[in-house]
């Protein structure tokens, strides 16, 4: 296996008696786009700040391109960073902001001008060179911040929730732009976000963090479809969780409420009588019996929300409520609240959470 470009090894960070990052390990390949995804306080920004050099790890080491940078100052690391609050220098024009790192590095004026023009073209704002930050929208400011970060050709690009301060529409377009620029330049990137949609849509891999640890590291497909822990399953995407009791471990049968479901081959290590958390994504459930779906549960429709192209239906099954989406069909009216309903699914889509 090739040497990882960025290697975070057994990193721990404590502030006084509080440990915010615990034994964090991650290898990132050259040119890879990895997202740190997790709720507030999970330690994702602290790990990023340790990679940037703003925080010193209490233990462990950080290696970039084979060089241990753990004790280097931020200005010695050749790392680019985009901040949530843009952090453009208010006293400098757009061109001066983009050229700041180049000027600090002592690049000749003509080369700075050429690189700034190139950056402005990349972020598609060539006419903004002489504007001041306060004359730009939030989206434009963040594009400039991105250009400023990549202008000195850093080895690594760090993005600390760069889209959080923007409105929804700009957020979607800018995240696609960030990904396309990252791919074009082939720059290894770490992206911190608490927005799962953002992480799923643009990452090569995602590290889902909780309580200072990486709960799971994997591709968006793996994270979504094969969550390793209960936290990952709950945090990423919408999930219906049903509590069940193993009735026959050998046969793979589980009782949910008063109904039995067959989960053959999925009950590794469980004994008869064990309580289990079973999870199903809404898109894995159909209303009514459908061909190819080998399991079903009966209940009563408790809520119906008409959302245009999609109808969100909630079905009460004993003490549980299962949410599922069906496509709107002009010829078929939506189901009514209080109707008896059967939901069907493939047992292979059922996740057993540990």
């Amino acid at each position: 296996m090739a040497e990882p470009f960025l290697s975070i090894q057994h990193v721990r960070k404590s502030f006084g008696a509080t440990t915010v990052v615990e034994d964090f390990n991650l290898d990132v390949e050259p040119g890879e786009f990895v997202s740190f995804l997790g709720p507030s306080g999970c330690g994702k920004t602290t790990v990023l700040r340790m990679v940037a050099g703003f925080e010193e790890p209490s233990a462990g080491k950080i290696v970039v391109a084979g060089k241990d940078i753990t004790r280097l100052k931020p200005n010695q690391r050749n790392v680019g960073m985009v901040f949530q609050a843009y952090a453009l220098f208010p006293n400098l024009t757009v061109a001066q902001n983009i050229g700041f790192g180049l000027k600090v590095a002592g690049m000749p004026r003509a080369d700075i001008d050429a690189r700034v023009a190139e950056m402005l073209d990349i972020i598609k704002l060539p006419q903004m060179a002489d504007r001041y930050p306060y004359q730009l929208s939030g989206g434009q400011q963040q594009r400039i911040a991105l250009a400023r970060a990549i202008a000195p050709k850093p080895k690594l690009l760090l993005l600390d929730e760069p889209l959080s301060a923007l409105d929804a529409k700009v957020r979607v377009s800018l995240r696609e732009e960030i990904r396309s620029i990252q791919k074009k330049l082939g720059i290894t990137t770490i992206f911190v976000t608490h927005d799962q949609e953002e992480a799923l849509s643009i990452s090569d891999r995602i590290a889902v963090m909780y309580g200072g640890k990486a709960e799971q590291v994997g591709t968006p497909f793996e994270i979504y479809n094969r969550p390793a822990t209960k936290f990952v399953a709950n945090f990423v995407g919408t999930l219906n969780v049903l509590e069940g009791k193993v009735t026959d471990a050998a046969a793979g049968t589980v009782q949910v409420n008063t109904q039995e479901v067959s989960l053959k081959g999925k009950l590794n290590g469980s004994k008869s009588g064990d309580m289990l958390s079973l999870a199903l994504r809404p898109e894995a459930i159909s209303l009514g019996r459908q061909p190819g779906r080998d399991s079903s549960l009966s209940g009563e429709i408790s809520e119906v929300h008409f959302l245009g192209s999609v109808i969100r239906v909630r079905v009460g099954i004993g003490g549980h409520t299962v949410s599922l989406d069906t496509f709107n069909s002009p010829a078929t009216p939506p189901p009514a609240v209080g109707e008896k309903a059967e939901i069907s699914f493939s047992s292979s889509d059922m996740l057993v959470l540990h």
Binding site: R77, N78, G80, F83, A87, L88, F89, V104, P152
Partner: protein, 263 residues
């Protein structure tokens, strides 16, 4: 509503009268040097007096050095406290307020005892040393104003994020303070500088007890011995102070605007 506006104007007029009537009276008195006619004779005498020019020049120079010293001490200190030592802020604020509580005469006697010609640091043994001590004393007197002005300026920018943004782009501390922080708090620094200027120009106690040829002692001397000239001098001093305040107002329009606004 209209009645409220009327009374607001009455209060404003009373306040303005309280402020302007003594000033107008002083201007009027300063112009009565020539019998039976208004004239600028008192101003001509004051402005033509070589001692006025010498003492005013001395105080202006002292003010410039005081401002430079104040900026060199206060900007890095206030910046570092905001960035790394926010828990020390109340203590530092208290220390910067001390010059308002401790009379200048106490401080200057302390200086004379500490830095006399027989002390290990004999500032007072030479003219240049005494001048330096006066500037240090002035910087201390101006500390409450300079610190507050700079601290208020720093409050308007995101010091930590701007510092980190500059650091990650390769900048060292000198570049960060010189090219990022100082330009963004320049108007606040200038406000502090003009307040310092106004304090130094009129300061009497320190200059007098350290026996320096400053403008403050000259003002006192003229006030004690002449009739119309002190009034003219008071108006000149007012004009200088107001000029400084106007400059603060004008310059604040050119302050870099914060870019951190919602999209």
């Amino acid at each position: 509503m209209k009645s409220g506006k009327f009374w607001a104007w009455v209060v404003f007029a009373l306040g303005a009268a309280y402020f302007f009537i003594p000033l107008i009276a002083t201007v009027e008195f300063s112009m009565r040097m020539r019998r039976g006619a208004y004239s600028f004779d008192a101003y001509q005498i004051v402005l033509g007096d070589p001692r006025f020019q010498a003492t005013f020049g001395y105080s202006v120079l002292a003010a410039v050095f005081t401002i430079i010293l104040g900026v060199l001490i206060v900007v890095p200190a206030a910046y570092w406290i905001r960035l790394r030592l926010p828990h020390l802020r109340p203590i530092v604020e208290f220390i910067t307020l001390l010059p308002l509580v401790i009379p200048a005469i106490v401080i200057v006697f302390g200086y004379i005892r500490m830095y006399g010609s027989n002390s290990p640091l004999p500032f007072l043994a030479t003219d240049m040393g005494t001048n330096a001590l006066l500037v240090i004393g002035y910087a201390m007197l101006a500390l409450p104003y300079m610190y507050r002005a700079v601290d208020t300026g720093l409050r308007t920018i995101d010091v930590r994020t701007l510092t980190e943004a500059a650091q990650i782009l390769g900048a060292g501390w000198g570049t960060i303070i010189g090219r990022v922080i100082l330009p963004n708090v320049l108007i606040a620094v200038l406000s502090g500088a003009f307040l310092t200027f106004a304090i130094v120009i009129g300061e009497f106690t320190m200059a007098s007890l350290l026996n320096r040829p400053a403008f403050g002692p000259y003002l006192q001397n003229v006030g004690a011995n002449r009739a119309y000239e002190p009034a003219a001098l008071a108006i000149i001093a007012f004009a200088i102070t107001w000029g400084c305040m106007s400059l603060i107002q004008i310059l604040s329009r050119f302050a870099p605007r914060s870019a951190n606004r919602p999209n």
